[in-house]
Amino acid sequence: MSDPDGGRGVSDALHDPTTADSRGGQGYPRSDGDRDLPLETYVLSVNDRDLPVDDAWVGESLLYVLRERLGQPGSKNACEQGECGSCSVLMDGAVVASCCVLAADAVGSAITTVEGLTGEGELSDVQRAFIDQGAVQCGFCIPGMIVALTDLLDRSPAASELEMREAISGNLCRCTGYGRIFAAFRQVQQERADARA
């Protein structure tokens, strides 16, 4: 286990709520005299669709743009500093924390969110396993978990339990204690192995 006092050395400025911004300690530049939000217009490729983003502040994260401008709130906003994994999306096939990606920097990348993993009304085997195994309680971490585990099972079908734990160690869940999530992983692995046999 790590040191619970790890926060003692962090600077005061970051923790001064009078200057805190809506994205937590993301640390992007801001001058207090600057009252204008520089805007940009661009197109994002999300779940195989090109979606225009018009007149958006350049400081917006991919997570914010997905949730607030593109009507894709499936990716969640639990920490907005890359610690919890609830905002996980695939960007050109790699899992990223969309809260830590500037949306304007994602132009030209293929983005897949939890909404894009299956067709409408369908369930993937990973999603089905989460339901079957009771892996969902409040569900706030679940979209990010599904994205991360889908990626792992696709890349590494025979991942060991430890590899699986490591792969989702950046995905926090506060409800389940992870036991049913691990069970969902095992269910999918077994089903896919059976299908191959």
Partner: protein
């Protein structure tokens, strides 16, 4: 209306999964697809963003607030401060002692000063930064013990509550005496869905709020008072709630968002960042607890003395009830004929504390269980045998003098937990990541020592001390568009992840024999369901749904009986049909419903309880739940690193109504107990939170959680619907103590404080090491 002629039918329907079977959550499919609308996902055209300005000081006088610069910014629609609160200027769960915004005085780091509504969240943040506040910084009162006698920092004084409990002969002494002082750090609920919601002004001058909360009706009452609106003009609906664990029992952004919506006449969305969340909700009370246990030489407990001080921070919240639990359950689930306990909950300039899973019982369990181990060592007894010898049984007395009238399978829990399989011995060739320190891969196998620890805990279920604790349910049974019966259940129960939505459907299916059950969204258009806390909703809202279903069933049976010229008592409602008791004749439920829908509204109140008297005595609690935990840990003593290898538990659940959900509650609760044992603490220095982020406040990850081995003791609780007990809190009460006991066993260190930090193991203070 005369009952229509009902054709007899003998169709047998396939039975839907009933009570006691694992049933899948109805909200799981939208949750796994990302389609479930959480409170931070809400969007409506024309909405603006609310943002709170908070104090950088834990204690200060506000000399001047200048909002003109912020208000002049293009795109800023409103800036409000305490001067703009036209109704009650204060609110609170138990006492209205917390101002909506700081009222001339700041009492904690992060107290709200103002709120802004603007077109964009970044603009709202900049507007907050443009508000000029001049503070006269005051010395913060941060020592809870000193607060008892210090000059008051609030007109209501510094002591929220002192409970003086005297039981039996308070001066009784034993042959063997052990003593200790223990400390518990401040834990955060760390629900993942941040405080958030959408407030929409309504045409009648009222406001509608879609919000993540634990108790819609008390939120509504506090909002209505502060906005000076009649309750019916404040309508709340539960938005998707991303966990709670006690942290949503108090108001956070609710009043601010509604105020901004009324001022701007526009919908206002507020979403806390994680950092703001650490400042925006109450935490688990840090506590200092002194104990002295007296026993006979054979191990029989004679007396327990204790004095405990819980730091409630700046405002009351639920401190008065937390300290009642801490005091009443101070000795743990043991027969203790004599006791002298003084429990204090006090006000300081530290962050406000209130409800968190386990609610007062967690802190005392950690201390009391450490005492039991200390006593076992002094007696030369096995610590589990000592617990068995003193375990509470039905008809025993609690420290409050209350006789246990329900089930109390403490011995059964202890024995069953002890019998659960232990993990395999440490593997010298194991992946280094499975050693203490985990991904750091710093521990070496030959430095690792294993320890096993045991702890037992209990607490009350539902609300105590004379509170009229109830829930309300409206159930309607009618024919759906397809001609089949459909039940609609309307309860205000906050689903925060615990699974009440599943249980409500199970109950309606079981009671009404229908497969189609629709849950009406939880809102304030039905009576209060009480709080989703105190492990109470399965029992209390479950009871309300059961009663309302029974009310519906009566009417349906009357209809069928009338048609067959029988008495209702001659008939039973099975799966989709009403049958005579002899099974000879039946009518379909669908036919019985052709005369029109049937609706019933009922309240379930648990049996009344009494306030505590001047000696802390009385029948203050309704029902109790128990659990035993055994932990196995590996420790690298040189590095102070701990790996929890396994947690085993046996829990008293009454009757498990949905085994899959019970399994998940127990695993999740143990994860939070593990967090408090070795990871989680809000570090507060001079009244300031030093680690308000998930970078610096560490939660158990998938690499930290060990396997949980669980078994349940199922003894139906009399007076509880279906005999079920709430299961949410017991996993969190003594899992912490078991893990720390295991670390003590591995290291020999006294470890009288949680969370256990690496330096507590590797660099123990000389004084504690010598004790």
């Amino acid at each position: 209306m005369p009952a229509p002629s009902l054709p007899a039918t003998f169709t047998r329907r396939r039975r839907a999964p009933g009570l006691g079977e694992s049933v899948l959550r109805p909200d799981a499919p939208p949750k796994v697809r990302g389609e479930f609308a959480f409170s931070s996902d809400l969007y409506v055209d024309g909405m603006v963003w609310g943002k709170t300005l908070r104090s950088p000081h834990p204690h200060a006088r506000i000399l001047r607030i200048d909002i003109t610069g912020a208000l002049a910014m293009p795109g800023v629609h409103a800036v409000v401060t305490q001067d703009d609160v036209w109704g009650s200027r204060t609110y609170g769960l138990e006492r209205h002692d917390q101002p909506v915004f700081a009222d001339g005085v700041v009492r904690f780091h992060g107290e709200p000063i103002a709120a802004v509504a603007a077109d964009h969240p970044e603009l709202a943040a900049r507007a907050c930064a443009a508000i000029e506040v001049e503070y006269e910084v005051l010395e913060p009162l941060v020592d809870a013990e000193a607060a008892i006698t210090a000059p008051p920092i609030h007109p209501d004084g510094n002591v929220f509550r002192h409970i003086r409990l005297r039981h039996g002969d308070p001066e009784a002494t034993g042959d063997v005496v052990v003593e200790g002082t223990y400390q518990v750090g401040m834990q955060d609920q760390a629900f993942l869905g941040p405080e958030s919601g959408l407030a929409v002004p309504s045409e009648d001058g009222g406001v509608e709020l879609f919000v993540a909360t634990q108790w819609l009706h008390v939120d509504r009452d506090q909002i209505a008072a502060c906005l000076n609106l009649p309750r019916e003009k404040v309508r709340l609906s539960l938005a998707g709630t991303g966990g709670a664990f006690g942290g949503r029992e108090d108001v956070s952004m609710q009043i601010h968002a509604c105020l901004l919506a009324l001022v701007t006449r526009r919908p206002v969305k507020m979403v806390y960042s994680r950092e703001e969340s650490f400042f925006g909700h109450v935490h688990r009370h840090p506590a200092t607890l002194w104990f002295r246990h007296h026993a006979r030489r054979d191990g029989t407990l004679v007396a327990v003395e204790s004095r405990m001080v819980f730091d409630g921070g700046a405002y009351t919240s639920s401190s008065t009830a937390v300290i009642a639990n801490a005091t009443c359950f101070a000795a743990g689930p043991y027969r203790v004929p004599n006791a002298k306990v003084d429990g204090y909950a006090v006000r300081t300039n530290n962050p406000p504390c209130g409800a968190m899973r386990g609610f007062g019982a967690v802190q005392t369990s950690f201390a009391a269980e450490a005492q039991m181990d200390k006593l076992a060592a002094a007696l030369g007894m096995d610590p589990v045998e000592l617990r068995l010898k003193n375990a509470l049984r039905p008809h025993d007395q609690l420290l409050t003098g209350q006789v246990i009238t329900g089930v109390a399978p403490v011995e059964e829990c202890i024995r069953a937990c002890r019998e659960l399989p232990l993990p395999p011995a440490a593997d010298p060739d194991a992946d280094l990541m499975t050693l203490p320190g985990g991904a750091g891969r710093t521990a070496l196998p030959h430095n690792v020592r294993r320890g096993v620890g045991f702890a037992v805990g209990f607490k009350n279920l539902a609300f105590s001390e004379g509170f009229d604790d109830y829930s309300s349910a409206r159930v309607r049974l009618e024919l759906g568009a397809d001609g089949e019966p459909v039940a609609t259940v309307h309860v205000a129960t906050a689903e925060v992840g615990q699974g009440f939505v599943t249980l409500a459907q199970q109950i309606a299916r079981a009671e009404l024999g229908v497969s189609s059950v629709v849950l009406h969204p939880a809102d304030t258009q039905v009576g209060s369901a009480g709080s989703t806390s105190a492990s109470r909703q399965t029992m209390i809202s479950g009871g309300a749904v059961q009663m309302a279903c029974a009310g519906v069933r009566e009417v349906v049976l009357e209809r069928a009986a009338l048609d067959l010229h029988l008495a209702p008592a001659d008939m039973v409602l099975g799966d989709g049909e009403l049958t005579t008791k002899d099974g000879e004749r039946s009518v379909s439920l669908a036919a019985a419903l052709r005369a029109g829908p049937v609706e019933a509204y009922r309240e379930f109140h648990h049996a009344p309880t009494d306030p505590l008297d001047e000696n802390g005595q009385g029948n203050a609690h309704w029902s109790l739940a128990f659990a035993a935990h055994r932990a196995v840990v590996d420790v690298d003593e040189e590095l102070g690193l701990v790996r929890v290898v396994q947690v085993a538990t046996a829990q008293d659940v009454g009757k498990a109504l949905n085994p899959l959900a019970v399994t998940g509650q127990i695993e999740g609760g143990i994860a939070q107990g593990l967090g408090l044992a070795v990871m989680e603490e809000i570090v507060v220095a001079d009244g300031r939170i030093r680690n308000p982020s998930f970078t610096d406040y560490l939660l158990p990850t998938p690499l930290d959680m060990p396997p949980v081995v669980q078994t349940w003791i199922e003894q139906p609780e009399p007076g509880a619907p279906y005999g079920a007990k709430g299961v949410g809190e017991p996993p969190t009460i003594s899992s912490t103590g078991a893990i720390v006991a295991a670390i003590r066993a591995a290291t020999g260190r006294p470890l009288d404080r949680v969370p256990v930090r690496p330096d507590d193991i590797a660099l123990p203070a000389p004084t504690t090491a010598a004790s």
